[in-house]
Amino acid sequence: MKKERKIELVTDDFIEPPGEELNGEQAEIDALLRAVADDCSNEIDFEGIKLRAVKAAEAKKAKRGRLRRALGYGMAAAASLVVGLFVWQAVKGFSGVPKGSAVDAEVPNQENSGLTKNDPVADAAVYVGTVSDDNYKVLFDSADELFPENLPDTMKREVDTEELKTMATGTDMRGSQLDYVCSVKTGKLDNLNVGEARSEKDSEGYWYYWQINEDHYLCAHFMGFDRGSAEEMFKSLANRIAENR
């Protein structure tokens, strides 16, 4: 017991009560600062701030839910289309899927060289939205737009404006490594129509490809994230960019 009390007394981890360690002028100023800090804090409408924060968070949750449902329906429709095409082709006696179509599960370009070739996991393409040629330069002028809003704050961010590329690295709350790279490149991917996006998995994480217009596509790589988090961040990114058109 005595030992514990001693440790407690020598620790720095407390705010010195006025009068115990301080005396004279120091104690007076200490008390004045505490009183003024309390008075100033009492002037702030913390209850109002809390209500606004909860309201904004609830609105965001509802919006995410709507987007998730919409994308879910899109995925389901795309999956039905894949099944339909497969059945139709089987009936016609054709065993392959035309290269370059939205249902092509092959890696789309050189960006996919790191994918696990024996076990490619690719989702069907879904329509996300487009960014016009005229606006895309303006939109990505600072490249700051290439960070998802819900990217963890613990990640250190870097922007390469010339290359239209953003990177972030850090760890999650449990200390696991997280990396994020996003860039806009010139070109047209074989297996995506304009406005469509698809995701693929490799050994490190999830790739998202989005043909934002005829001449440019966006590529985002989420490493160390689970599928749900990666998808949510890509949706947030795409949603904001499409909204900003």
Partner: protein
């Protein structure tokens, strides 16, 4: 997510978050907006925050508040910001009872004196008294040793006492 957990986190740390943001942006309204954004994120991430220890939650909130405040300053650097005088937001046009008036004057004088300190001392005073952070927590955030923080607190209090005496003598 438990609403009571969010309520507790808000009750325990809203003051810390507000003053952490205010220290960077020095504007009441902006600090309030940042506080709102920080707790909006906390609300959306309660499932991740709930299992964490209090010190981790506190540290996360402080970091998010500081990052958002720095982002705000970076984005606003090209804008013409109003040079809000210290204590302007607490000015009141209504006549006040004498006691209230004295309190307001005291608040304004102390805040003005704090603004007159150099950045390091101002940061330490703000974090210790307004954000209610311990010496060790300030040391962790600023990278300054706890012993130096303590001696700077003593020095800053002496400077403030001198400033307030000079102000009273005018």
């Amino acid at each position: 997510m438990s609403t009571s957990s969010f309520d507790k986190i808000y009750s325990d740390y809203s003051r810390l978050v507000y003053w952490a943001a205010y220290r960077v942006v020095a504007q009441n309204e902006t600090a309030e907006d940042i506080t709102q954004q920080v707790f909006e994120r906390a609300y959306l991430n309660m499932d991740k925050l709930e299992p964490l220890a209090d010190s981790q939650i506190k540290s996360w909130l402080y970091r998010v508040a500081t990052n958002l405040a720095l982002d705000h300053v970076r984005h606003a650097k090209h804008e013409q910001l109003s040079d809000e005088p210290v204590g302007a937001e607490i000015a009141d046009t209504e006549p006040l009872p004498e006691e209230e008036l004295l309190k307001k004057k005291r608040m304004e004088a102390v805040r003005k004196a704090i603004e007159g300190l150099d950045e390091t001392n101002r940061t330490i005073i703000t974090l210790h008294y307004f954000s209610e952070m311990t010496v060790n927590e300030i040391s962790e955030k600023t990278g300054i040793s706890p012993g130096t923080i303590k001696s700077r607190l003593v020095r800053a209090r002496s400077l403030l006492a001198d400033m307030l005496k000079a102000e009273a003598a005018e």
